[in-house]
């Protein structure tokens, strides 16, 4: 399990480092799939609901959302460049620092003994921070959606801590929300592109007041 979470943390850095939108989407999708499989490993006794939710997560995060994003990419004729506000190397460095910091963090927090042993908490922190960095340091709407996805993945990881107490229905609900949100963003992106010929969020600031 720690291996999988470590992989997810690695994918954060991949998403930060890649200069092309499809690869960012791919990294986010792959991370979502990995995390989707985690409930199967965490739950001791087999339950069909867990299997269904895990499967649903993998399907939605790994296939449906990326496909929606790619369609938006195609339909809106977006350049595949990421256009960073913050260069790749600095954002990578920040991501790495966040990961290291997150690894050191559990010592500071009053965690349950069982949780302190796993990479669950550091992984969740690192993913959330990297999601934020992606949100802050990229200009295109699509890459922001990816940042949002990664952020959500981090929160999902946190949620896994409570998997024994949270009703799975809630998890399913969150997943549904996310899908709808991405769906809506995909449509909006398309509309914005048609209306203003740009998806650069730096130029979409006339409604700020």
């Amino acid at each position: 399990m720690n291996l999988l979470i470590g992989l997810a943390m690695g994918l954060n850095l991949v998403a930060l480092a890649s200069s092309r939108l499809p690869s960012v989407i791919r990294a986010a999708a792959f991370q979502g799939m990995i995390l989707g499989t985690l409930p199967w490993l965490l739950e001791e006794d087999f339950h069909w609901m867990v299997v269904a939710v895990g499967l649903g997560t993998v399907m939605v995060k790994g296939f449906i959302i990326p496909n929606l994003l790619r369609r938006a990419l195609r339909a809106a004729n977006i350049d595949r460049e990421v256009e960073p506000l913050l260069g790749f190397v600095p954002s990578l460095l920040l991501g790495a620092m966040a990961t290291v910091g997150a690894a050191a963090l559990p010592n500071e927090l009053p965690l349950l003994h069982g949780h302190a042993q796993t990479l669950l908490v550091p992984g969740a922190f690192a993913t959330v921070v990297c999601g934020f960095i992606l949100l802050i340091a990229r200009t295109k709407a699509i890459s922001q959606v990816c940042g949002y996805l990664i952020l959500e993945n981090g929160i999902y990881l946190f949620g896994l801590l409570l998997i024994n107490t949270t009703p799975l229905l809630v998890e399913a609900g969150i997943l549904l929300d996310l899908t709808v949100a991405i769906f809506v963003i995909g449509i909006i992106v398309d509309r914005i592109q048609r209306e203003f010929d740009t998806l650069d969020t730096r130029k979409l600031n006339t409604l700020r007041e």
Binding site: E108, V129, F132, L135, I136, R202, N205, T206
Partner: protein
Amino acid sequence: MTPGWLLLLAGAGLAAGIFSAFKSPRLWLVTTLIGAGAAFAAAVLMLASGVTWDWRPGFVIGGEALHLQLDGLSAFFLVLLSVLGGAGTLYSSEYWSDKAHPDSAPAGRAWWNALLLNMGCVLLCANGLHFLIVWEIFTVCAYFLITRERQRPATRAAGWLYLASSHVAMIFLFAFFALLAARTGSWELGPMRGHPELAPLFWLALIGFGLKAGIFPMHIWLPSAHANAPSHVSAILSGMAIKMGIYGLVRFTGWLPVPPSAGWVVAALGVTSAVLGVAFALGQHDLKRLLAYHSVENIGIILIGLGFAMIAVSHGNAAWGQLALAGGLLHVWNHGLFKALLFLGAGSVLHATGTREMSRLGGLWRAMPWTASLFALGATAIAGLPPLNGFVSEWLVYLGLFDAVSGRGHAAIAAIVAAMALGVTGALALACFVKVCGVVFLGLPRHEIAPHVHECGWRMRLPMLVIGVACVVIGLAPILFWPALATAAAAWQPELANSIPPAPLVTLGAFHLALAALVILAAAFLWRRVRRNGLSRAGTWDCGYAAPTARMQYTAGSFAGIITGWFDWILRPQRHEQPPGGNFPARAGFEEHTPETVLEKIIEPAGSLVLRLSLAVRHLQHGRVQSYIFYLLLGLAALAILAVMGGAK
């Protein structure tokens, strides 16, 4: 009739005036004058009988039961309010007539009545919440009166400054009354000397009421507001509205305990206001601005009296405290009277010539003998010359200070300093009014001002005459007014009650009468000589220069030049000189302007700094989503750090 019915009549008259202000100026004039007269009668009745009128009708307004009270102190101020209100009412019916100001006159009349009504209510309210409400309404009414000529940018700026400073004062008063109510558990006001924990609230009251009273350096709103308001409004502002600040200070230093240093601070503020107020006045070229700075000066004199009375009370030495307090209180009346007279006179000059700029005036006494003589009377009174009322109140303050000197300790030293400052103030005020009277009324006209310079009509003349007579009566027979002073002082501090006039006051009255008789005799003698021998007019000796013009007379700036030179460090006058050069000088010029130093050198830079900082903060709001998320992250991180550090504890 009892004071209650008279006050009801006064309220009804003023309220009826508000409603008739738009339709019928005549009805407005009658009802308002009846209202002012009734208020005057009620106040005099109270002062004469010494019986406090207390009324709890059982109405509840804003959750608090209405409680009105007319005691010695309120009645003392109510007398002044009704006299000045009545005089201003009659004056404005000609000065700000419908014919001259069709747009602003009707609303001006309504605001005028609302102002008088609410100032009266402030004097009567004995409930903190209601006090705040009527105080705020009176402040706002005054704003609308100041901005009657709102088409002029200077007036708008003055109004804005007044409103802003009034609301700063209001914040402090809110804090004062709210804390008072919180600590006593009730909004009811009354004597609460037995609660020493209330003493620190005095500082809030000092700032709140001090801003209203125009104590230096909190006087910043005062000069421009007084200068730009219509003259009858300037008169009531200077005569009464700033006295409301004094009323608040006297009222609450009487009812509440004060910190030990309060008297010293008040006296020090008084000395500062008195000396610097008159110094600033000397630097002014605008007739009404100059008078406004004299309000700062006279507020200072009142505060010297009040401050030393407070020191005396805290030392348990009532004898000289009573004199100082009586002087301060009588100066409230006196300043109200002669300053109103001067503002009404200045209004008459402005009405006739259309300018407040002293350097454009000159030689007006030929055209306006009544205005000139009454203005000169007011000037004599404000300069503190016998035998007029200004000297009586300053004399009482001096007596208090001299008695304090004969004692021991810090109070004696402070009293010496204050007495010297008071003397300097009187001398400078005299210089200043010699300048005003000389430049405006004597000499020759400097400019071809409108050829129809004329004396004002009887409705403007009569109020000035009435106030002038009041000044003379207080000057000649100060004993008559001692019972009123004693009643007011007893309302402030019961142990200061003393119904026997002090001996020096009796002597002073006799001296003034003798002096007045002497002056009249001398005048009659001169008049006879003039009648017998006739007058011959000759040119002023002009050092052999062949072609003198009226422009070569002393100007206001040159007359006061030496004295303002002494105060350059605080006045900071801006001079633009173009001295004549060469054997045949072509052009030369000299221009001097005295800014409002506190406002322009301290308040405005501070304000623009705050504005710059605020604008810098506004850059955070730029519409870039990424940065907003970054702020979010920073906020989260800060919260996390706080949580972790809190957890570590």
